[in-house]
């Protein structure tokens, strides 16, 4: 991950001006008179109540967040929680009922159709769950589609598309048609198409949900690799907590169109905002996610743990386990500047690991 991404782990939001994407007070109400509903007390009603009362459905309710450049920002929630609606609001594929979206310094909300089209052509690309490929075009022409749309020359777009083919590992399949490829490969085409226009922001709407678990894992690795190589800002929608934890620098958890919690993976696991999130994350192997920051205790005396090499506070528990257990006494935990912020001993580590061993068994 880039430095910026790392730093954004600790600060929960960057300031709006430098953000790649900044969302403020975003609402989407589906229904015939959605606009008139704004500002009325009806909007205080729960989703179910409002639907029963007026037939309006709240897709997204008062959502604000910032995404730093280069960050992988994951939006997570169960089916129907409004994730797809949210990601479509970000490019105005669905018109927001209220709120602003600033993408790469430009306010999308007041934009005319032409300007918006220009944004979609150059600044942001999407990858969809059902791929959305054009069946009558070859792989290479699918990838070059966005370039073609914005009027680039044939030779230029072919060579750019070829680069993308190579980048996503589809070399040799350029001249196939989408329905000749497996699902995973089709989604690689979708990825390559999104990357071809060199956008500032990539948006993914559950891109791997339709794939087999094994292929899904490959594709997740692929996204991580691509993020390393091209370093794009990504907004990634998923309903799969594992996926969210694996990919996200920060995770936004949604329920019924609302934000429940925003935070880095260890914050979500270590300090769930409410019972909903706690239930949700109950089965996650905590030692894989929690960092030493979450298990350390304040040092008892100034020289406690001085005997062993110190560990950074961002080390994941599982990775620290060997070193801590091997040490005779407690181990010091230091922050980025090298200052001692706490100590951990065998007990702190085992607490996390043992709970984890027991919890699933007890739950069943």
């Amino acid at each position: 991950m880039t430095d910026l991404a790392v730093s954004s782990r600790t600060t929960s939001a960057t300031d709006a001006t430098s953000a790649a994407l900044s969302v403020r007070g975003l609402w989407k109400v589906f229904g015939p008179n959605a606009d008139k509903l704004l500002g009325t007390p009806d909007l205080e009603l729960s989703r179910q109540e409002l639907q029963a009362k007026s037939g309006h459905v709240i897709g997204v309710r008062d959502v604000s967040f910032d995404v730093a450049p280069g960050e992988v920002f994951v939006v997570m929630g169960l089916s129907g929680s409004g994730k797809s609606t949210l990601v479509r609001l970000l490019t105005r594929l669905i018109e927001p009922t209220a709120g602003t979206v600033v993408l790469d310094g430009e306010d999308l909300t007041g934009m005319g159709e032409d300007q918006l089209r220009e944004i979609r052509r150059r600044k942001v690309s999407m990858v969809f769950q059902h791929f959305g490929l054009l069946p009558h075009r070859k792989v290479i022409d699918n990838i070059a589609f966005g370039l073609e749309i914005r009027g680039e020359e044939k030779s230029g777009r072919r060579s750019r598309a070829q680069e993308m083919v190579d980048l996503v590992g589809l070399t040799g399949y350029e001249l196939n048609y989408p329905d000749q490829l497996s699902g995973g490969m089709q989604q690689r085409v979708g990825l390559a198409r999104a990357l071809a226009g060199d956008p500032a922001v990539l948006m993914f709407d559950e891109p791997f949900s339709a794939l087999d678990p094994l292929i899904r894992r490959d594709m997740q690795k692929e996204v991580i690799r691509l993020h390393h190589e091209v370093g794009k800002t990504m907004v990634f929608i998923t309903h799969d907590l594992d996926e969210a934890l694996k990919l996200g620098d920060r995770i936004l958890i949604m329920r019924d169109g609302e934000i429940v919690q925003v935070g880095a993976p260890d914050e979500i696991i270590g300090a769930p905002a409410d019972d909903y999130v706690r239930d949700f994350t109950a089965e996650v192997p905590k030692s894989h996610v929690l960092t030493l920051r979450w298990v350390m205790r304040p040092p008892g005396s100034a020289d406690e743990g001085a005997g062993a090499p110190a560990l950074p506070d961002t080390t994941v528990v599982r990775e620290a386990a060997r070193a801590v257990l091997a040490a005779d006494g407690p181990v010091r935990v230091v922050d980025a500047s090298g200052a001692v912020v706490g100590v951990v001993d065998d007990e702190d580590i085992l607490r996390v690991v043992v709970v984890e061993q027991r919890a699933p068994a007890g739950a069943r």
Partner: protein, 704 residues
Amino acid sequence: MTTTLEPARPAPTKEAQPVAERATSRRTGRKLLAVLALWVLAWATLRGRQTLELANADTTGLHDWFNDVRDRVQLLGQDNWFFHGVLGTIASGLDTFVGVLQEHLSSVTPGDWLGWFGVLLLAAWVTYALAGLRSTLLVTVVLLFLGLAGLWTDGIDTLIVTIVAVVICMVVGLPLGIAMSRSRRTSAVVTPVLDAMQTMPSFAYLTPIALFFGIGPACAIVLTLVYALPPLVRITEHGLNSVAENTVEAGRSLGVTKGQLLRQVQLPMAKRTIVVGINQCTMAALSMATIAALVNGPGLGKPVIAALQTLNVGAAAVAGLGIVLIAIMLDRTTTAASERSSPAGQRVAAVGSPGIFGGRTLVLEKLPRWATEEGGRGTDRRFLTPSGRRLVLAVLLLPVLVGAYYSTRYLQLSQFPDLSGVPVLGELTAGPLGGHINDLTNAVVDAISGVTNGFKDLVTAVMLNPLQSLMSDLPWWVMALVLLAVAFLLGGWRPAVVTLVCEAVVLGTGLWYDAMVTLTMTLVATVIVMLVAVVLGVAMGRGRRADTVIRPFLDGFQTIPAFVYLVPALALFAATRFTAIMAAVAYAVPIATKLVADGVRGVSPATVEAARSTGITRWQMISKVQLPMAREALVLATNQGLLYVLSMVVIGGMVGGGSLGYLIVQGFVQGQLFGKGLAAGIAITALGIMLDRIARHAAARFGR
């Protein structure tokens, strides 16, 4: 490179072929251009030679031989067991049957079974029983209009032919459909026969059937049968087969016999679809019953033909209006009856119109909203329970019978009174109404004749004349080679072989020149049809509002029997080739448009959204995403459009279209041209098969 490459490249299966084919697609374009170049070159050098043009009154040996055959059938047939014994009995039986019905129902002499009033009452009662109050009102109004406009006898005759044919269709078709759904072998044997019945333009079998059954009511009924039976059989089979698999399975698991399955599961569940089939059958029957006037079939077709031949638009329009009203009446009534026949079934109707070719491809769609709302309203809003309705029906039967009885006693109730002197109503009687329509037509024609004539001249100068000259002014063998080459390039060797055979047949009929003229008109009309269909279909496929506005018109146009299209076309374009072309366009546009619209709407929303996310413009969306993805529908629409157009262009021969259709009509009018008319029918069939085969194979190749 990644370590995550998918297992293996898909094996080169059949699916892998399109890669190669797409590459050939461009090459095909180039080859076609080369053919065109050679063609034009040949035209420039060889024009006017060996065109095989045959003057109107000239005949060939084959034509004379056909005449001989006819004479022999007519003379010797008296003693032949088949001609006289079998066909003769059927013919005279049908003639007598229809004659009796005519005499007692449509003719207006007192002392028959029923006078007009009695017919009206009974028709209303039956409609109420089958379809509900709304349809009853419609039937009453339409019948009253027929009486007023002086179309009573012809109108009731049309209804008699139509209904007799539909009843026979049901007696034959329903068991046949059931048999087909139960036995794959039966289906395999019957389906090609149905295909043939539907692929042959109706005009083509007019002459042979007239030869076997003699002209008159029997011939009209047989023609109508041939035309109306296939949709009923097909839809019945389809309805039974499409009863949900798991329902059938559930039935089986309970141990039902095949018969029980049919009676207790399949028939009740398919009832709704079968009634839709009856609707299609009825509309097809009406369409053909009017055309059957050419073989002296009774009904409203006769005044239309008479008026068309004297170019009297007003008179043709009055009779045409009668036909349209009857069409609406039958359509609404059968639709309402089908709404009623299913409690909450899915509402479906066949897209395939009662066209000359019927719905060869059986496309089922949701019934348009206006149809379900309007047709259904009379039945859905029931305020009577079924038993209550039965009671009302029983109670009403008495006054109906009394009224029917009196209608045979009193002249006023027996013979529709002449109301021409009465204010307001008098305006609706034939004479004044024809006058009004003539005035209106003149006003409209005057107002838009600049546009229509300009359009006509433009199309004639830019497309029709050059193409006709290219196709018919050539030595026949050059044109034959061009067609072969095109068939081969578009469809491969199979359609090329079919084309070769069809060309030989056309050549054999001695009507090569006329066939090429007909082909020209067909192609020009199809081009126009597809232009209109793409514009309208894209608008409908993209926008719900456009769809709700346009679709009712298309549905309406599809209920109008083919014949009637000639009237407005004649009014607008006078008696020229162009009239036939425009009638054909009007006739084929609805089906083609619906197919295009369904194709465009069928483009996956996920793809459309993905394209939208790339910042696509509206025009790019249409040209790069929606139309290419709807390619299959476009090809299908072209195929259907071609066949619809061909059948109508031929009928248009009557009003200036000339060529093959004209020859068929002349065959009935002049005895010595009978053989030539028969030959023309054969040539049309050959053209139809050729176009159909080429289009189908091209569709399979390019319409992936």
